[in-house]
Assembly symmetry: C2
Homo-oligomer: 431 residues x 2
């Protein structure tokens, strides 16, 4: 009998030797170290990240990231939109690249994981390939997108969907997208030239924190993203008659606050009455004139619906609209409805890629769940031009866009391993 | 048989001859003309009045009013607070004056009746006394109060309740009360000297438009005011957990919008569940952060209650508070309640004066109704130092503080007649 004491050491030696390893894995410590280093760029006193796009924090962080990408063996360049592109040749130059990445910019006072996990994860995957002497058939392309939080600017540019007007919008750092892109080393005038067309990429993959509490609550390791939900907004305005709150008897009032309050409850009830994972939110309500001593003349209620199916959103909306009209009729108020353009179409993940992610995660022994992404991502834009897949990892308590955003070192490594094996599997499947 | 054709003419001649008239009456045309002339000071393009206190419109109107008062035989002066005081001696110099009046300043873009009806009505009563050779036993005092709409400044000064801090408040015309009072010819430094004490006046009477729609809707001529209601304000804050409206599933939400909406409906239901004329209003509701794509972390709801009885207000409030706490408990939100000081105590009309107003209105053949005043008035301040009575006339559709504010010539004359006869009756009763 072999002394069991030495077995793990022998096993570990055996598995770490590239040629014999059946399941190459990322280095959790190295990956985490790069994330922690990245988090120092723009760390504020509250423990949050002020690394908004185009800020000096962003610029310095991008230098650090380019260094890492070069060390990993990537050929690094900045495209016209300011995206950092890291290329690695494949064995077959006739194949289209498999692209993967995320972003490193944050919302003001944001966290350290939303974007960085997928960015550092992508680089770690390439490092792992290099040290395991793995060369894929497909070329690989790591993309660190410009200004995700301020309008998915870099990915929208790649998808050919960034308008000239959007370039004039002032971003969180105080400069326009136009000027910001120049700060990143891009050339906003030439953005139309970088548009990729469907077929230019074999696939686009993105690892990201869930930004919801489902995986964390259910103690699962990996979320297989079904797609990124569509978002629709409406503003419901109930109009009655503004009047003196002291001199107008209760039975002489035409107070729109009452149907508005009933409507808020109706929205919730109707959204919950459907099976599925749709969400509906009243995040904003306002009375006009909005004084404690005046019966309001108008109350505005904002309704947001999200689902993977636009059709389902509009079905639910039809119920909400009918209920709103009924409440207005009953209360003798006037109802005006405005549909607010938020230009957010659903982006479904590619079914084949979803299957691969699912299978690889299971092979690695991780607990998985298929779920929609309620938040927007660069992957949503990339889905316009490439088969898309997204891998989620747990986000503690579902908190994001805040200093308390947190994912564990183990969860991050798990996600990067799923990304790595999904790339390897797609490299075999996509020819 | 007398030819009936001439009877009305003979009768009219007989009644119009002062010495024989049992019921002296004001001159409706003259009264209305003075109101229309007053309305020219500060009339704006929208048809509203911009005669805010201390404006040049106010200053010019005050000159016009002082001229009318002198013509009516009043001895006119300006007190330290800028109130216009018109005195007429009575037969018995040992009696305390019967005071009556109102204000001529308006809210920005206000109407022509709120204040002017009582002011011009008071002067018309004195004119009518003069042309009917009526001299009361009591001295009479017509008071045109300074800046009613900007904080019942003049009446509060007379009642000794105007704080030094209040003098530093900037009024609608853009100057402080302190500087404004100087513009009126007052002396803000010496305001403490003009305080009247209980017993200094025999009574205070005020004619005013209802500012509510009750008399107009019920086609009644005169409102016998029971008192001016107390006002209490509270701010209810329901706190849940702000979260991403896209990534947070419906069953993982802690959304304070829902108990807040239920609470709005509960306030209305509870206020209506009591007998009486109390009113309760939610005029203001706000969600924080208040974005369409964020589940609110907090929703603030403002509650106002008004009634003639403070005790009843607090009884109703106890129900509202209990319901609010129950809704918070059921929804697992935190509830914080803040009582907001609006310093508005109830001011009851003197029961004897109410009876006199009621009797005189009936004698004159007017339809009457006892009702509370839901709005504040100078009479509320004067009630601190004198037995108070108020006479309301109909206000079309209950509109006030707006260009559409309107009372008819006949209604205004009716109100002035009731004021006149109430003064004559009190002159007999109060010794």
């Amino acid at each position: 009998m072999t002394n069991r004491k030495y077995l793990p050491i022998l096993l570990s030696f055996f598995l770490s030797y590239p040629a014999f390893s059946q399941t190459p894995k990322v280095n959790p410590d190295r990956l985490h170290e790069s994330l922690m280093k990245l988090s120092t760029f723009g760390k504020n006193a509250a423990g949050g990240s002020d690394r908004v796009a185009y800020s000096s924090y962003d610029l310095h962080a991008r230098e650090y990231v380019q260094g890492l990408m070069k060390e990993a063996g990537l050929d690094v360049s900045i495209d016209f939109a300011g995206n950092i592109i890291g290329r690695k040749a494949g064995k077959n130059p006739n194949l289209k690249p498999i692209a993967f990445g995320s972003h490193i910019d944050e919302v003001p006072n944001g966290g350290d994981y939303d974007g960085p996990v997928g960015s550092m994860g992508a680089i770690e995957v390439v490092r792992t390939f290099s040290e395991n002497n793995i060369t894929t058939d497909h070329p690989l392309e790591v993309i660190i997108f410009a200004n995700e939080e301020g309008g998915v600017v870099g990915s929208r540019a790649l998808a050919g969907a960034l308008s000239e007007d959007a370039l004039q919008v002032v971003s969180n750092s105080g400069v326009t997208q136009y000027d910001g892109i120049k700060l990143l080393g891009g050339n906003p005038e030439r953005i139309p030239e970088l548009k990729r067309n469907p077929g230019d990429l074999a696939a686009y993959l993105e690892l990201h924190i869930e930004q919801g509490g489902i995986l964390d609550a259910e103690k699962l390791d990996i979320g297989v993203v079904e797609g990124i939900v569509a978002i629709e907004w409406w503003e419901f305005t109930f109009a009655g008659k503004a009047n003196h709150a002291g001199t107008t008897p209760m039975n002489k009032r035409n107070d729109p606050m009452l149907p508005a309050a009933q409507f808020v409850l109706a929205v919730n009830e109707i959204v919950n009455s459907y099976e599925g994972r749709q969400v509906g939110t009243v995040g904003k309500i306002q009375a006009f004139p909005g004084a404690g001593n005046v019966i309001p003349g108008e109350v505005k209620v904002n309704v947001e619906l999200r689902d993977l199916s636009s059709e389902k959103i509009w079905k639910i909306y039809a119920d909400i609209e009918a209920r709103g009209k009924q409440l207005a009729l009953e209360s003798q108020t006037e109802l005006a409805i405005k549909h607010i353009e938020v230009a957010s179409k659903p982006a479904l993940a590619d079914p084949e890629i979803r299957k691969v992610i699912q299978a690889q995660a299971e092979k690695l022994g991780y607990g998985t769940k298929s779920l929609p992404s309620g938040a927007g991502h660069d992957a949503q834009e990339m889905a316009r031009i490439a088969p898309m897949g997204m891998i989620f990892i747990p986000s503690k308590d579902g908190i994001s866009h805040a200093p308390a955003e947190y994912s564990s070192k183990a969860d991050i490594a798990n996600g990067a391993n799923v990304l790595l094996h999904t790339i390897l599997e797609l490299d075999k499947l996509l020819k």
